[in-house]
Every structure is written in structure tokens, then in C-alpha cells.
Symmetry: C2
Amino acid sequence: MPSGSFPNLDVRMRGFSERSLVADALQYVDDHTCPLSPEVIPIDQAHGRVLADNALAPIDVPSFRRSAMDGYALKGAETAGAGAYHPLTFAIVGESLPGRAFEGALDAGQAVRIMTGAPVPDGADAVVPAEYATESEGQVEITTSVAPQKHVAPVGEDVTAGSTVALAGRRLRPQDIGLLASVGCETLPVVRQPQVKVIATGNEIVSPGSPRGAHQIYDANTTMLKALVERDGGITSDCQTIVDDRQQIRDALRVPGGDLIIMTGGSSVGAEDHAPTVLAELGTLAIHGIAMRPSSPTGLGRIDSRPVFLLPGNPVSCLCAYDFFAGRTIRRLGGRGVDWPYATLAATVGRKIVSAVGRVDYVRVRLVDESVEPLAVSGASILSSTTRADGFVIVPAACEGFAPGSEVTVYRYEPVA
Amino acid sequence: MPSGSFPNLDVRMRGFSERSLVADALQYVDDHTCPLSPEVIPIDQAHGRVLADNALAPIDVPSFRRSAMDGYALKGAETAGAGAYHPLTFAIVGESLPGRAFEGALDAGQAVRIMTGAPVPDGADAVVPAEYATESEGQVEITTSVAPQKHVAPVGEDVTAGSTVALAGRRLRPQDIGLLASVGCETLPVVRQPQVKVIATGNEIVSPGSPRGAHQIYDANTTMLKALVERDGGITSDCQTIVDDRQQIRDALRVPGGDLIIMTGGSSVGAEDHAPTVLAELGTLAIHGIAMRPSSPTGLGRIDSRPVFLLPGNPVSCLCAYDFFAGRTIRRLGGRGVDWPYATLAATVGRKIVSAVGRVDYVRVRLVDESVEPLAVSGASILSSTTRADGFVIVPAACEGFAPGSEVTVYRYEPVA
């Protein structure tokens, strides 16, 4: 019987006598995570990043009265009564182009040829669209009336100087970036992206492309985790593959750097599962063993201020535990919300989903027409179950499953954008 | 009255006499787009990319009989009758660890200590979990019975050699990447990312951070378009800002390279709107003027094999026309589907949405409780309408709007992941 330095924590070859509740594990990770400090980056790299401070507009947009149409700027009141059978004539005294204003002011009976986006000259207060105008020999015939202000965008119509263009915490979308550019932002303060260290442990794993022994397997978790970290806005700063050796695990966990550490494999109760006791030695093993399926042999803790996630080596468990705990933490560190990063769908259970009270289940499902069916083959080692499935359903701890006809929320694996 | 080289196409200062239908414009872009050629990339860069060929598994996963538990491998039939009050004893003849198999074969009454993921030795056909076993002095007492095959994953349980792991056209998710890694893929053939040239035209525009004249505006479209292109899986290979000058526009459009060109500004019927006629000279201006609001002054065509999009300079029109036509083309070139890259929500109209028969409307809306309201201020130049809105509703050409109580699909601006 192997023994560890912390016999009260050492569950190796004895099994978990007690498992933490998922809710308590989530509380633990949330209690120890807050958004990282801001960094300032060029605006054209800010798509998808989270704004760290409220962004105020230093200028009005537009900062001048702007034509909303191609046509003729004039005094709206002077167009009263104009129509197809009653054209009115104005003298063209100049032209206002975008970026090249007409510098004078209009008198009665005058018009200025104007393009969309060009400044409306002093003395004009409306624009007649080109469709209702015929120009010849320095004059223009107008066949419609326009009220004052018509087709003239006032100063600050889009954004007023001093107003808040985007709130801190906003995950920047293309149009947010556009609006921030329109008020002149060249750089933006955004929440720093979490740097994640990924350590895969196991004598049996080899990297894809490397020679593989008869009893070895290719490491699925490292590349999957890198993709998950990327999806959640983190950066995998470092990847390492090590064998099931207490000293190697200790050495890997002791390397400083990174905002968060994910270790896969060796997190359970086997003789070679050193990670939990090593973490307890080097820092804090706050939670080990969680009442959920899959992913029960998950450990959560910290080294210094860095959250550490000990995820099971079985790839489905790894994915599930990542999504429940590590992904949530990465999203929170990066300033994103705690919502699952999957589109949801309300659907009706077609074939019953079985769980047990006291345990949270992550059930891979298929959508058959509008109804939900659990996959028949879905062990924690069957990663193909997550590629065949359309998504998953979470069965809460208080619930022993869902009968046919129940309404459930399906988290869809298919990405939206 | 300005004149162009193609008087029959030149709508400058006359307005569009006829607009193309959105459906026809979509048909045109779809007819001239197919996925780009494949390229081979490292698997750890493949997240979110589109698989170009079916991926077949060269190996079984697992490729050996694998224990699904930490415990003891033995012959299941020999555990019959074991229980807490009736433990059965087996002689431990060795250990099987992940990557370090027990090389012998089991005889009757023997067991091998085994860890999750380790090869099940010859002669064993089941695993008793550690929780039901007590080991001492070379023996183990078993307090549960296990049927043959229990906790033993057969060869190929996850993936069988020769089977298709992922189909061509799959947008690769983290678990797809993991599964492909598990069969040993080091690289993957994926559809090449479209290279997009973005050209912003206008005397009035200056880049954020540059000195701005009183009648100039900061260019919102270039940074917004770069973000949109990124969202849709393209790469902005080149950005250029030029003035409203026929020769400069011609020079910019004539530069070879890129898979697709987006030009903003100068696409309408103003005297300075050179882009459509220049495109007609250099290639094909297939569509100019589309029956939609906003974005009516949109032009679509080609130079050589490259699709060219002339998008309006008004930022909301630019966003909308991008999403309808350019984004769709970028997604198709990159092997993605034509679906809008927004999560959708079915909702009920709270305040009526007004459109006109024959025209497609892109209406920015807010979600108030579960009901949808159009934004009151929503001109094509008011980019802040797209940052205040929760999303948009499309009013089809056949429809003059939606009355309160109608069920509509809301495309949500909020990104999912």
C-alpha cells in the first residue's frame, strides 16, 4: 500500500470517502479568482477582448452638421410647395464634399451641392436628395419639399463628447471596436489574457507524431486543452508532458510563472496518482473528489496565488472538469462572465436521462428532431462521444434525472461564430 | 453633372432607378464562391479551422484492452459471491501501470494491481475497483463481484482503425482536435483562410490616432471590418486608406493578391462615388443598388476571380452589407456555412417593426423582458445603435413589417464563446 506525506489527504488506492459538491467547488474557484490587471493594446487587436475601463468619448460624432444624403443643402423652409409638377429653382453657389467643406454661408434662394458625410454649410438646414433634383447651368430644380433638419445629422447625433461609449467589462464586438475608433481611440485598456500552463502526466502518453509503444496512447488532452483555453480567451504559455513520477510532478508544479496551472492525469486514487498530494505539499489542495459524473477525480487548489486544476486523464472527464472549473476560472480571470461558452437550446427529453441525487451529471446528448436523447455509449474515456453528440445536458445534484417529456437546456457543442 | 465611362451603369447623382433583390445578390455571391484549397497545418493550430478532407483513424483507440478503473484485474467469474461479509482472496502476482504493462498471464486465483488506463493482462477479463479491495502481504481481499468485461475497455472502444473520425467540412472544436490527436494526427488538412484586402475611401476619413481636421471623421470601418473578417475566419492581409480619387481607387483595386476585396465608401450615387464605375472598368460590376435598408448603395462584382464588395461608408450600412454579403462569402471561402454568425432567439414583437414590401430591412432591436422593440434612433450613420442594441431582426422582402405579438428570430450581437 503506497503512502503519502499527508495521510489524511491521501486517498490513493482507498477511494474518496467523501466528495465535495459541485456548488462548493464552483464557490471555491470563484472566491479565488478576480479579473487580471489591464493592459493597453492597439485597437485593431482588441476584438473579443474585455474592456478594462469605461471608455468615454473625447469628441462628438459627428463633430459637425453632416449630410445624410447625396443632394443639395439649402434652407428647408424655402422648399415649401415643391413637387414634380411644381419644381423650385435654387442657385448653386458651391459644393460641400466629405472632408472638403463649402466655406461660405448660404443666402436665400441658394443651394450647395453636397455629398453624404459632407459638412452642411452655414445658412443651410436641410438636404434635398439627388433623386429629387435636376442640375443645369448653375441651377438646381427641386421636386420635393424638405422640412428643416431633414437629412442633416446634428452634431453628436451618434456620440456626444463625454458620454460613455462602452462600459468596463464589455467583451468587444466588431461594432464596439468601430464605435471606439470613431471617437479616435488608437489603443484600448483591456483585461490581460490569462497565461495558462498545461502539464500532462502519464507514463502511457506520447505526443501525436512521436513513436508509440504497444501499451501507450497518444495524448489527446494537451491539444484539446490548448483549444479550450484559446476558446475561453486564455493563452497557453507553456505545455509539458511528464511521466508519473512524484519528483517530476513536483518540479513541474514548482516552476514559477503563468496565471493558472492545469495538470491532467494522476488526479485520482491510484498508486501512481501523485498530483493531489504533491499539490498539498507545495500549496493548497482545497478540494479533491467532486460529486459529479464524469470528472469525479478532480482536484482544485492553489500554489501561491495561482489556481491549480488537477483534471482527470480520461479525456471526457478532462473536458468536463475543464468546462466546469478551469474554463470558468480562465473566463473570469480574463474578465468574461461565468456563463458556459455554448449556445443553448430548450428541448424536450425523448429518452430518459438517468442520474443520481447528490451528483451532478454531464450527459452527452443528440438532438433527434426537437427531442433530446442521451448517447448510449458515453464512458469517460470515450472522447468520440463528445464529437458524435450535439451537446450536453447538466443534471443538477438535486435531481435524479429527466423523464421523457421534461424540458431541459441543451448546451450545443456546435460553435456559433 | 459628372459623367462616367459607362453611362448605362453610371448612377452618380441620379439615384438607383432599379435595385436588385437581396435574394438575387445572395445568389450572385454564392454562385461565385467555393471553398479555397486545403493547406496542412499543425494540429495545435487547427482549433476553429475547417477540415478539408475526411479524417480516418489509422489505429484503434484504445489499441489494447484498457482498465477503466484503479483496482485489481482478475477473472470476473472467480469473484462470484464476493461481498462485504464474504470477501474473496486473490494472490497479487504483479502490477500493470499505464505505459508499463504486466507482461505475464494470470492463472486462477491470481490478480494484478492495475491503474486506470493500464493494459489488462492476458488471462484477466475484469477489474475490481480499489474501493472494494484491501491489499496486504501479497494478497487482496475483494468485497464485490464483477462480471467479465466489467471496467475493461475493449480494443477500439473509442475509435476503430479505419473509421472516419471527422468529416470534411467540420469546423474543428476542442474535442475534435482531442480525438484527432488521440489517433495520432500531428497535422491536419484544413481549408485555407481567406485573405481579405480592406480599402477605405474618403477625403473625410483619418485613422484613429492621426491628426483630424474640423470636417474630418475617424475611420470606424477599417477596424470594424478587420474584426468582422477575423470573426468569420478570414485574415485581413492588407489595409489601405485612400481619398475619393478615381485614379487612386483604380490603383488600389488593381493591386493583385488576396482572395477577396472589400472597399468602403464611394459606393453610392454621389459625384465622388467612383468605386462602382471603376470596378465596372476593371472587372465586373454585377450588382449595384440593393433593395434593402440600410446598405442600399452596395455594389457586388469581381476582378479576375476575386469577389469585390463595395460597401457603403456609413458604418451601420457597412456592417449590415458586410454581414449580408462579404461575411457570407468569407465564411464560404473558408469552408464555413452560410448561417449568420450570431446566436438566435425566438421572441415576440412588443412594439411594431416597420418595413416596406419589396425591401429587406435590418432592424436593430432591444430585448425588453422577453419582447422585442426596434431602437428609436437607428439611422445608417448611427453606429452606436448597434452597440446599444441587443441584436437585430431581418424583415424579409415579402413582408411590410411585424405587428406586436408576432414571433420573430432575433440575431444576438452578444458573442457566445
